[in-house]
Amino acid sequence: MSQTRGVLGDAWLMARKDLLLERRAKIGLGQVVPFAILVLLLFAFALDPDRGVLKQATPGLFWVTVLFSAVLTLQRSFGLEAEDGILEALRLSGMSPAGIYLGKVTALTIQLLLLEAVLVIGVAVLYDTKFVGIALLVAIAFTATLGIAAAGSVYGALAARLRSRETLLPLLLLPLLAPVLIAATRGCEVSLQREAVSGWPWAALLGIFALVYLALGSLLFRPLLEDA
């Protein structure tokens, strides 16, 4: 079956399945988005909003919120597959592992980009952020999100079958995403004109991160599904 559809066909099928499930269950909309907004509020409580600290730290707080929300989204996405031996069923379905992986990455990227769109409105309203340098901002958001989804899907699948996945996934994933947090935060600071340097090297670094993990994930998903 996978030979007729190919890797991209499998990826599309998988992504559509995940997005359809999300549209029906609305876990992202009903739980992850409110959680992300709550984190924005908590940052405001922790850092006095009247002293300008909040405004100065907006890019960093935005991306930390995205990372926390990504962990929840990943747990949901792979928790679904771990139930009732669905991962085994996927392995036996004849779909290509790389296709399954790319499908999960696509669905996660779309969900996280939608979440970020809501968060942009959140920081614009709550932290009084004025957005400039939109092209760079979009490039950074896309490459960073793709990187988070690409690296996250490898560890999400790995942790899915472990009983301690709730604690293990953040421990594995967040240090791995440290360069994404640094690059996305600095890139956003440049695009918001808080640093007088070019922001495109940061976008390039994020792009390299995403491509490296997309390639690695596509290669590693077969042993991951078969043995891990």
Binding site: Y155, L172, P175, I182, L220, P223
Partner: protein, 265 residues
């Protein structure tokens, strides 16, 4: 004749009961010699640095520990790739040994880096690029060890660890670049950046002795950890075999007991 052959074969390759061998003892002795030379030259004979003063003596320890840590993580990366290709216990055990030893050396690196920071900057931590990178990588490999510690079928565990080993090592240059650019904007003195490139005489000798000692100790620890891991696997196999034998005996005695009671009724 056959019996003699078998006896000689047994005497050539007896089952290992410890982690030491003639080779590791020799390696250990050489490492101790280099360590002694490094301590004598690093602490007593070499003069203080013109810029760093006596804090250069911390650097004599910092450089070898960070090099040893990277050597250990490189071992883990190569072993992880080899495990996914060959699927043998050797590569799995070597990979996990590398991760443990790497974590040990990185912890020492962070501690001696922080001590250097306290003397030079007056604070233990100042987001110096190499220290920051080390901290991120240390936590990444702590995750590897956390997965390693989860009880699982050996093959499943080995595959999980091999995947983490590969995913983590690919991140090392990216973390380096990101942290370098990040701190490049506010760069101050760095631990390694303060080294005088024209270091010579006894200072250079102390540094090279310490570096050789660090790498030898790392290799020595790796071999011992690998062998300890191998013995632990054999011990667990033995324990499993014994448990199976006990259950078999229990079930046979229960069935014979029920037979007797059946006869009674």
């Amino acid at each position: 004749m056959t019996a003699t052959k078998m006896n000689s074969a047994q005497s050539v390759s007896p089952a290992p009961t410890g982690t030491g061998s003639r080779g590791t003892r020799l390696l250990g002795a050489v490492a101790v010699c280099f360590l002694a030379v490094a301590v004598v030259y690093g602490l007593f004979i070499s003069p203080p640095d013109s810029q760093l003063g006596n804090t250069i003596r911390i650097i004599y320890m910092h450089v070898p520990t960070v090099m040893a840590a990277y050597l250990a993580f490189l071992t883990t990366a190569v072993s992880s790739a080899m495990y996914l290709w060959k699927r043998t216990e050797f590569w799995d055990l070597l990979g996990s040994s590398g991760a443990e030893i790497g974590v040990l050396f990185f912890t020492v690196t962070i501690i001696d880096g922080a001590l250097w920071g306290k003397v030079t900057w007056g604070v233990f931590w100042r987001w110096e690029p190499r220290l920051t990178t080390s901290a991120v990588l240390l936590i990444m490999y702590l995750g590897y060890l956390a997965v390693r510690a989860i009880p699982a079928d050996p093959k499943t565990r080995a595959t999980r660890c091999a995947i983490i080993g590969l995913v983590a090592v690919v991140n090392i240059p990216i973390v380096h670049k990101a942290v370098d650019w990040w701190r490049g904007l506010h760069q101050g003195k760095t631990v390694l950046g303060t080294l005088n490139p024209e270091m010579g005489g006894t200072q250079l000798f102390a540094m090279y002795s310490a570096l050789t000692a660090g790498i030898l100790v790392c290799v020595w620890l790796l071999i011992h950890r690998f062998r300890a891991g191998y013995l632990a696997e054999r011990a667990s196999d033995l324990g499993l075999g014994q448990a199976l034998e006990e259950r078999r005996l229990e079930s046979s005695s229960t069935s014979s007991g029920s037979k007797v009671s059946g006869d009674d009724s």
